[in-house]
Amino acid sequence: MLHIVNKSPFERNTLESCLRLATKGSAVLLTEDAVYAATTGSAAEGKIKAAMADLKIYALSPDLQARGMAGRVMDGVNLVDYGGFVDLVTEHSNCQSWL
């Protein structure tokens, strides 16, 4: 399953809900303001690092670039462009946007 999160963890609790409920082996794609969760030095860093044990974490590269955060991506986060976003949707049997 692919989980899509699009809000900053400092604005909403959707990332937290997603990480709590996503089952082992699932993928999480961070887009829009959620890409802040993929950066080093933020308060969400620990949560993402812990989640990496069970989940594959992706972040949308154009959204990181738009926010000037492309140089601060945590190790272990996989970067994708929109084409990669489409691939993630098709490669997983279903997807859930956490709104």
Partner: protein
């Protein structure tokens, strides 16, 4: 693969409409079929041709219309959400006694059943919202 897209945020709000557009474009360029783009809740505001953003800004509505034309997309606006927000096609304007319509090229107004049907027919349904 057959993909359906749901857009539930208006243009120039946060980023959902932009994200949906970029996703749809990338999927089409990869050769996937976009079965339908369904505009719901504030997402119906993507379908008014009366938007006139500053010249140095992207025109989100025209961009949808152009992509729709290029790929013959089925872009459906929820009728109940549209009525609440003043999005009308010619028929609706006539039926409601309004002085004119404002739906942009390539969009059509229909019911929520179209979203349900897209969910059934598509291999994937991707939601973009707020």
């Amino acid at each position: 693969m057959k993909i359906g897209v749901l857009v539930s945020e208006g243009p120039y709000t946060h980023q959902a409409s932009d994200s949906a557009y970029n996703f749809v474009k990338a999927a089409l360029e990869k050769g996937h079929e976009i079965y339908r783009v369904f505009f719901y809740h504030d997402g119906v505001n993507n379908a008014t041709r009366f938007t006139e953003p500053p010249r140095d800004d992207r025109n989100i509505v025209n961009r949808w219309s152009e992509l729709g034309k290029q790929y013959n997309l089925d872009m459906v606006v929820c009728i109940a959400a549209a009525q609440r927000r003043g999005i009308m096609d010619e028929n609706e304007a006539k039926r409601q006694g309004k002085s004119g319509d404002n739906i942009a090229e390539g969009f059509r107004i229909s019911g929520l059943g179209q979203l349900v049907e897209a969910g059934i027919q598509c291999d994937r349904l991707v939601t973009f919202g707020d």
